[in-house]
Structure formats: structure tokens, C-alpha cells
């Protein structure tokens, strides 16, 4: 009985009218079909170029399983890039577009809680993104023809993609709730995603440059003093993806310099630190969106 009830309430949540309505609206527009097509064409082009290069190398008899690995890595980065490109567009209008179409007030006077509305909107957007990403599986399937990639690696990568979709989506939903205009919400969400990819890398480079100048001028001789700078790389989706693909060995080689005391985060791989950091950000973004959706009396 006690096990059935949570299952029923979960089923009820996933069959709630907001999700149902979102699915209907999304799948009834031709835009969804064109989006899926555009995504598959882009991924197909990437895959085509990569497989051509691999094919040429094979003809020159220097094929090795390392090439499959490179193909897999390039495809994964392309996929992550496309997810980063698509997610803000799919999520940053979920609330603001309702406001612009003047349907939000009607929805807010119903019995649906702010939590249900926000989470349902995120789930429906992510679901569409999942359809798109899973539709690229056949492209990955070709990689298996060449061998060298374990199914578990593929599953891990897809789990990482899903996590990123949720994170980018949560930022989109938050800004869609904060800003009245969809255009502004989309721009700000792209800005945040761009900062995650580029900004964190620039911060890392600037800080390492600054530290090196400081050490060069006799400020410090202990390399362990600046391992914290690496945490800027840990919150970069690209480096986190590389950490997933490389089992974290590369990261450990970076921090395993002769240093002094190390913290917990010096021993965890990039991707795990990434997941922990963005899980906190995800929760904060969702909390912010839920609080902002309806006026709440201050206690």
C-alpha cells in the first residue's frame, strides 16, 4: 500500500493537465517537426564529415580503435553543443510566452501549484529535447560498427546530456519567469550558457596567468596553492564532458602535482564536481522560478 501510493501520485503528476496540454501544443505545431529535422541534419553532417575522415584514414591502413574514440568524442561534443544551443530556445519562453499570449493569468487562477506548473513546463520541454537527442542514436550506432566503445560509455554520455538538458532548461525556465519578454529571457539564458562554456574557461586562463605572474615574481613556489583554480574548469560543461569521456584520469594528472594539503574536490573527477555544483544551481533556479511565478506574501 505504502509503495503503491507514491507510484500513484507520481503517475498523477506525470499525467497532470499542464504536461498533457504542453505535449499537445508542442506536437501539433510544424515547428517541432522542423526543429527535429534541423537537429538531425546538423548531427548527420557532423557525423558524415567525421566518418569520411575515419574512412579515409582506414584506406591508408592506419585505422585503430583510437579513431573510433575520437569519432565518439567529436560526436559527443557536437551533441553537447547542439543541446546547449537548443535548450534555451525550448525553455526560455515557457512562462513568458504564456504571459505574452495572455494565458498566464488564467492558468495562475487554477488549482495548479506553482511547483506543478514550473516542473511540468520543464519536463515537457526536456521531453521534446529527449526525443531529439534519442533520435540521433542511430548515428552513434555507426560508431559501434568500428568497435572500441562500450555501451556503458554511451549510456554515461547520454545521462550526462540529460543532466545538461535539465540544467540549461532550469535556467531557461527561471529567466522565463523573471523576465516578461521572451526575447530577453532567451538572450539572458544564452548568455548564462555561453558563460558556462566560455566564461569559466576565460576565468581559468586569467587566474592561471595571474598566479603564474605572481609565482614568477617570487610570491609562491608551491604548485598546490593554486589547484583551486581548476574548479573553474570543473564547472565548464566541455571539460566536464571530457572528464566523463576520459574517466577523470586527465583531471587527476592535473591535480597530482607535488603539493601540500588537498581538499575533497581535489580527488573527485571534473564531471562529479560539475554534477554536484549544477545540481545545487538547478535546485536554486527551480526554487527561484517557483517563488517568482505567483505573488507570495512575505512572512
Amino acid at each position: 500500500m505504502s509503495k503503491i501510493q507514491p507510484m500513484q501520485s507520481m503517475k498523477q503528476f506525470f499525467l497532470n493537465p499542464v504536461i498533457d496540454k504542453e505535449y499537445r501544443l508542442r506536437m501539433r505545431t510544424s515547428r517541432s517537426m522542423w526543429t527535429l529535422l534541423a537537429y538531425l541534419i546538423a548531427m548527420g553532417l557532423f557525423a558524415g564529415v567525421i566518418f569520411s575522415i575515419v574512412g579515409m584514414e582506414q584506406r591508408n591502413s592506419i585505422y585503430s580503435s583510437g579513431f573510433t574514440g575520437i569519432t565518439f568524442i567529436v560526436l559527443s561534443f557536437a551533441q553537447l553543443g547542439l543541446i546547449a544551443f537548443m535548450s534555451p530556445g525550448l525553455t526560455a519562453g515557457v512562462i513568458s510566452s504564456e504571459r505574452e499570449k495572455q494565458t498566464l493569468n488564467l492558468l495562475l487562477t487554477t488549482q495548479q501549484t506553482s511547483f506543478t506548473i514550473i516542473v511540468s513546463k520543464l519536463i515537457s520541454s526536456i521531453s521534446f529535447m529527449l526525443i531529439i537527442v534519442f533520435s540521433t542514436l542511430p548515428l552513434y550506432g555507426i560508431v559501434f560498427l568500428y568497435g572500441g566503445i562500450a555501451p556503458m560509455q554511451l549510456l554515461t554520455i547520454f545521462a550526462f546530456f540529460i543532466f545538461n538538458m535539465i540544467v540549461f532548461g532550469a535556467f531557461g525556465v527561471l529567466f522565463s519567469t523573471i523576465f516578461k519578454r521572451t526575447m530577453i529571457a532567451v538572450i539572458v539564458t544564452y548568455g548564462v550558457v555561453l558563460f558556462m562554456f566560455v566564461g569559466t574557461g576565460i576565468f581559468y586562463l586569467l587566474l592561471s596567468f595571474g598566479y603564474n605572474s605572481y609565482a614568477y615574481n617570487g610570491g609562491s613556489t608551491n604548485p598546490g596553492d593554486y589547484s583551486w583554480i581548476l574548479h573553474f574548469l570543473a564547472i565548464n560543461p566541455g571539460f566536464a564532458l571530457y572528464s566523463v569521456l576520459d574517466s577523470g584520469d586527465w583531471y587527476m594528472s592535473l591535480v597530482n602535482s607535488p603539493s601540500g594539503v588537498k581538499t575533497f574536490f581535489d580527488y573527485v573527477p571534473f564531471w562529479l564536481e560539475y554534477v554536484i555544483f549544477y545540481t545545487v544551481m538547478l535546485v536554486l533556479a527551480m526554487y527561484g522560478a517557483i517563488r517568482k511565478l505567483r505573488p507570495v506574501k512575505r512572512k
Binding site: 493537465p17 499537445r24 488549482q111
Partner: protein, 314 residues
Amino acid sequence: MTEYMIEIQGLKKTFGTFHALKGIDLNIPKGTVFGFVGPNGAGKSTTMSIIATLMLPTEGTVKVDGLDVTDHPHEVRKKIGYMPDFFGVYDQLKTVEYLHFYGGSYGIPRKEREELIPQLLELVNLSDKKDAYVDSLSRGMKQRLCLARCLVHDPDLLILDEPASGLDPRARIEMREILKELKSMGKTIIISSHILPELAEMVDEIGVIEHGDMIAVGNINRIQQQLMAKRQLTIKTSSRHEELKQFLLDQPLVQGVFIDGAKLEVQFSGQDVEQAALLKSILLADYEVISYQEQQTDLEDIFLAITRGGGAEQ
């Protein structure tokens, strides 16, 4: 159990330095149809939004059936059906799906909705459009669909902000008939409209709001009596207009007389008895009266009198 569906005390709302509501007090008994009258920007929609839990008051309290809208918004939403002045619809949904969505959003089980929705569509005369996409409906049909949406959870209170705006005369009449039916069902209705004569036909009480202040509240006839202290009489005679004008100006309760062709417009401050006495004196003075009548004042006149200060002699 409170006898009032809505209790508003000292309601204030400010947006930055702009005072949208300056301390409104209002009680609306259950089962009343209340007309909210006021020029654009007077504070009608703000008041309605606060009642509908879409906005927080800066000061004051608003209760719906005894429940404070800021403390118990979730419970209040069960009791209200809100129709904003401007609203959109989900174009890609069919009429039935649209109502199912809102029914589900109010927690009505699907089985109940299957029975309820055809009845609602019948009430708003949209039964033949049940499988039509909302996008294909006319403005008037969308307004009626929105009204059906308001009723899907059988609320005790309907908050209708300009429900007839943008409708052609026929659609307006249809909307009015539906509202009359809802009134007969015992719903408490707050309705704002700029088409004032239409309101007058169906409302029990009116509230006139201007610049965020509630300047008059109560029964239309009572407000009319309070505010329209001067009666406008029209007297038509066959001849001797100038003479009659002078005669009338000599009467104690006559405030002014204007000649308009064969008619004389008389501003008179007396009541029914004095009005009858005036007619008697005119006839005794041997003037040939063709007609003698009091001009009827409607809600529009009251509104104009209040908002222009014309009825200030209360």
C-alpha cells in the same frame, strides 16, 4: 459563515510612486451582481486582480467568503472564476480539450468532466463547436468559451473584467443573456463594463471608482436619488414659450429654464409631489401643455455626474 462574498477593507495598491488604489472599503453580499464602474485606469482591474489572487495588496485586507486572499490563495482560487479584460487562448487545442485542460487544472476527475463539459458548452451556446480548434472561433465565441472556463469548477464568485469588450451587438446580447442565467443560478458576480446601460439591466449594486477611490457604492436607484438631486423636466407647449419660462423661473424649486424650439428644459430640485404641483400650477395659469415629462437618468448619467462632480450636492 459570513453573509458577504467579498469583504475589502482599506485596500491600497501602489506601483512605485503611483497609487492605483487609495484605500477601498467594499462589502458585497452573497448572490449579488455587482457592477464595477469607472474610467480606464481608475483601479477596477487592479482590484479584480487582487481578489483573483494575482496581485498582492500593498495595504488592507481582501476576503473571499471569509478567506483572506493573501493568506489562503489556494482555497480562494477554488471559489472564484476569473475572466480578465484581455485574455488569450491555446490556439492548438480543441474547444473540448481547452475545457478539459482547465477542468483538470481544478482537479475535476476526467469522468466528471466528460459529463460537465457538454453542459457548459450548451450553456454558452458552443455545443456545435466542441471539436473546433479554439483558433477558429470568433471573438464572441472565445469570450463565451472563456466564460465556460470560469464555470468549469462551479465557483461561487465570478469576477468578470469587461466581459463584453470588443463584442458586436449580437454577441453582447448573447453574453448578457448568459449572465442573466448565471444570476438566476445564485452566483455572486462582479462585473466591470464600459457599456454602462447594459450593466444597469442586470446589476443589483454598483460601485463607482475613480483615481483609486471608491466614490459611490450601493443600489443603483439609491445612488441615483442621492446624486441626481436635480431633475430634468421637459415641457412641450404650443405657444407663449418666453412667458412660460418667466413663469417657471418664479417658482421656488425651479433652478433654471432653457428654451429648445417648442420645448422647455427645466432643472427642478423638488420630489414627485412638488413636480405634480408644478404641473398643476402651469395648467392653472392656462398654458397649453402638450407634454410634461421627467428625463430618465441611466447608469451613464450617474457615472458622468459622479466622475465630473455634477452630482456633488449629496
